[in-house]
């Protein structure tokens, strides 16, 4: 039992390391299957036969997709979704109260903080995945920036840098979120040729109902949170 748990951890780490190296899903499936094949033949533990998963993943030198590919496919849409969500949050209270949306430079800088942190993600993605405290620190910074942006928000037009009609921003940001979520849902429903396939059975590594639900919720996370914010704003009107 312990044996299986240790090996499962090793294989999970191997898949993660190969994913971090942008290795194609079919090559990952092939690597995992051939490792399982040898372990079944020798009766060894994965670490004993192949060494540390990270070292083995590096030693394989498998062909990898260029990094800009995932930045274009995943990072930019996520960034745009986050930006739309942040704009929606800034506009929703003013729109519900039928007031002008007041913006100060400090507030703008604080709203931009999470966007900049996410935009720079390719520079430190590996550190975020390998060290949980980096992820916690980033989340804390983003949450703090969000809270502080509310604190420094100007209360009177005199103290504001910009005073704008919130409605176009509210509608625009809401539409952007819905369009991005719809696009992501369509993309995730299509058969993905980067899935991890076991060459011995041609079934995907993990694609159960649970995974599908998680993917669906993730795709619609910003609209769901935006609706919650709208509900809160309406209840405190």
């Amino acid at each position: 039992m312990m044996h299986e748990t240790t090996d499962k951890k090793w294989f999970d780490e191997l898949v993660l390391e190969l994913r971090l190296r942008q290795v194609h899903g079919s090559a990952i499936g092939d690597t995992v299957a051939s490792a399982h094949e040898l372990l079944a033949d020798t009766g060894q533990r994965a670490e004993e036969a192949f060494g540390p998963a990270r070292v083995y993943a590096a030693a394989l030198e498998l062909p990898s997709a260029p990094q800009h590919e995932w930045v274009r496919r995943a990072l930019w849409p996520s960034l745009l979704g986050l930006l739309a969500f942040l704009l929606f949050n800034q506009a929703v209270v003013s729109a519900v109260r039928s007031e002008q949306m007041l913006v100060s430079p400090a507030q703008l800088a604080l709203v931009a903080t999470p966007v900049v942190l996410i935009a720079l993600l390719p520079l430190y993605l590996t550190a975020v995945i390998r060290r949980i405290w980096v992820l916690i620190a980033l989340s804390a910074i983003c949450a703090l920036a969000g809270l502080l942006s509310g604190v420094v928000a100007p209360t009177t037009p005199a103290g504001a840098w910009l005073a704008i009609d919130p409605l176009p921003w509210l509608i625009g940001s809401a539409l952007t979120m819905v369009v991005l979520s719809t696009m992501n849902t369509i993309r995730s429903l299509r058969p993905n040729n980067d899935d991890i396939l076991d060459p011995r059975s041609t079934t995907t590594h993990s694609n159960g109902t649970g995974t599908k639900v998680v993917v669906l919720i993730t795709n619609w996370l910003f609209p769901i949170l935006a609706l919650a914010m709208l509900g809160l704003a309406l209840s405190f009107r």
Partner: protein
């Protein structure tokens, strides 16, 4: 001065210095495939049977993956008998040509080394 290291990659059988195995494992693996397509465990067993010790999967598979990328080896998954399939490696023409070239070079190198290491040869040469 001891410049060679022990053999951490080999777990059983002969304990050759790891430097020697690192230098030769490539064409030894190609040689193991020269009789026909074979799979990971069979290649390891073949090398062990011939006195090279137990090569680990973590050493063999990266080597075969590089050979596949270089076009010296092709791979194919075949259904197993009553069990999951196996990944078979087979030499390509390029791999076979490379094996012949490396074998000839290795024979020349070992002859040269043996000749140089032979104390009798040195004694004869210095006396003439």
């Amino acid at each position: 001065m001891d410049v060679s290291t022990s053999a951490p990659e080999t777990a059983g059988g002969a304990h050759w210095p790891s430097d020697w195995l690192r230098a030769t494992l490539g064409f030894l693996a190609l040689r193991a495939l020269s009789a026909g397509p074979s799979y990971g465990y069979a290649i390891i067993s073949e090398l062990e049977r011939n006195g090279f010790g137990t090569v680990k999967g973590g050493t063999l598979y990266p080597l075969l993956t590089r050979y596949e990328a270089a076009g010296m080896v092709t791979t194919e998954w075949r259904a197993g008998e009553g069990g999951p399939g196996r990944k078979y490696f087979a030499l390509t023409d390029h791999g076979r040509a490379e094996l012949i070239r490396l074998t000839a070079d290795w024979v020349r190198f070992t002859n040269l080394s043996t000749h140089y290491l032979d104390p009798e040869v040195h004694t004869k040469e210095s006396s003439t």
